[in-house]
Amino acid sequence: MNFDLTKEQALFQQMVREFSEKEVKPLAAEIDEEERFPIETVQKMAKIGLMGIPVPVEYGGAGGNNIMYTIAVEEISKFCATTGVALSAHTSLCIAPLLENGTEEQKKKYVPKLASGEWLGAFGLTEPNAGTDAALQQTMAVEDGDNYILNGTKIFITNAGYASVYIIFAMTDKAQGNRGISAFIVEKDMPGFSIGKKEKKMGIRGSATCELIFENCIVPKENLLGKINKGFKIAMKTLDGGRIGIASQALGIAQGAMDETVKYTKERKQFGRSIAKFQNTQFQLADLETKIQASRLLVRLAAFKKDQKLPFSSEAAMCKLYAAETAMEMTTKAVQFHGGYGYTREYPVERMMRDAKITEIYEGTSEVQRMVIAASLLK
């Protein structure tokens, strides 16, 4: 039993901290305000290998592991949850299903360019009528000679427009329900594929969240990912991994808000002393710090199990549930500790509180996480 990071992980944390402080932090408020995707930061991340952390060297990655990946998403999200989710969606929702389900040709064709960051990746499952009940897919894929023809619409797709590769789910056999869904690798320039309206959001406002439109989109048969009609399982397994990424993002948001709050409560004086001297402050911060630390241990446990190739679905749900709810609580209280200043955009906790909310919703709502945990408990 050992709770320490390895020397390699600690050195990696030192590097990502420095990178986040110097490259991510200075842009965080601006990209939120302007609702602008931080493409320049993604390019900088690509240059040092952050876009392919847990990808084997033979596929152009850094040969790291999922623990390192969670460290990266956490450290980046301490300052900017938008940048954190761009990395998370790219790694967990696009590269991971390709590595886990792709043929050798598919992996050779797509993974090296994604891992190097030359291409950004995305994932499309959600539809207007298929959110938590993802089996209600209306996007259809019909065989036509050497191709599949896709028709339908996906919504709320992270990295949309900036991504070159999309993992898309569509019905190939409607009569079979979720056993009739297949996964496809769709390139941004495939005929009939276009990007629809961009969402205006409460938080992670720099993240590109758009609609994807498929109008007789022609996808070559060799771009079927995994077996025909086995896409739902791919989607669920991919989301298990994605939850570790989002939990890391939530953890980062919580830690970032805690760091700001510690700094502020020590500086801010009321009634003749710093507000950190009040027991009300101390007890609340002690509870929150405990929750943050517990979130981190849950995140690392899930990542560790994934690295060890052990089942991790339940642990992924737990870390996502707990870290997301901790992020929401921490950021809400961070605003409260900051008082009126906290409600303004002069201080980052206002943005952090808006950013935290989505972590309780996307890649499985907190309710879905409870369903997953209970199902595993009561099976």
Partner: protein, 260 residues
């Protein structure tokens, strides 16, 4: 091209605490980092490697934990790392340090030796020039840019108080680099993953082929008489104005202090 870069592990603080009895630094509880000027020197070496191809050896003298900064240098792109570590090397002043480093460098094949201008813990700026003297090599200090003709001549941009000097010098050569020369690259993720599978060579006293009275405390003519923290200076005032308004402000400030 073969480049040797000297790097030092220093405490990451501008408020260094000093043990009042021994006059030495208290390092406990202070994070250690690669000295900023040395990191600038390493980046210059890596830039030369990017452009012309080079093999870079980083070398440090210090406690075994200086392994950390050597690994950092390897993860940034250096090829080989050597740590001079031995009890006999302890308590060294700049002369004893440069003697030990020069004795090690002498055993390596090199075209260029790069050091940082000075370390943030001692601020002497002596070790680099002393290494050049021990090795009997030309030296250029306060360097901000190094170009190479691909054969044996370096074109070096040296910062002076008045501006810059552009100098040409042939290999082998010693330069000392400023942290402001560049923006050092980050360690690469792949570099970090691989770095603990690489070797940092540990060189003890026996490997240096140098007389014991030239190194460590014995080889250090400097004795610290007294160390103290300099009192805090009041923060300055910044005015971002045009030249004409600036003249007015300066004159009124000088009058305020009865200087004019």
């Amino acid at each position: 091209m073969k480049i040797v870069v000297c790097i030092k592990q220093v405490p990451n603080t501008t408020e260094i605490k000093i043990n009042p009895e021994t006059g030495t630094l208290i390092r406990d509880g202070v994070e250690s980092i690669m000295n900023p000027d040395d990191k600038g020197g390493l980046e210059e070496a890596l830039l030369l490697k990017d452009k012309y191809g080079a093999e870079i050896t980083v070398i440090s003298m210090g406690l075994p934990q200086a392994d950390d900064i050597l690994r950092e240098a390897l993860a940034m792109g250096a090829d080989k790392a050597i740590l001079l570590t031995d009890r006999k090397l302890g308590g060294a002043d700049t002369l004893a340090t440069s003697s030990a480093l020069a004795a090690a460098i002498k055993q390596l094949d090199f075209d260029l030796v790069i050091t940082g201008r000075q370390a943030i813990d001692g601020d002497t700026a002596q070790v680099g020039p002393q290494i050049a003297e021990h090795l009997d090599l030309p030296q250029v200090t306060y360097v901000e840019n190094i170009e190479f003709d691909g054969k044996k001549t370096f074109k070096v941009k040296k910062a002076t108080e008045e501006g810059y000097q552009l100098l040409k010098a042939n290999a082998p050569l010693v330069v000392t680099v400023l942290a402001t020369a560049n923006k050092p690259r980050y360690m690469s993720v792949k570099g970090i993953v691989e770095v603990y599978h690489k070797e940092v060579e540990m060189w003890g006293f026996d490997k240096l082929h140098i007389s014991e009275d030239k190194i460590g405390k014995k080889g250090s003519p400097t004795t610290v008489f007294k160390s103290f923290s300099r009192g805090a200076k009041a923060p300055g005032e910044m005015f971002e104005v045009g030249p004409e308004e600036a003249v007015g402000i300066i004159v009124s400030k000088l009058k305020e202090k009865y200087i004019i």
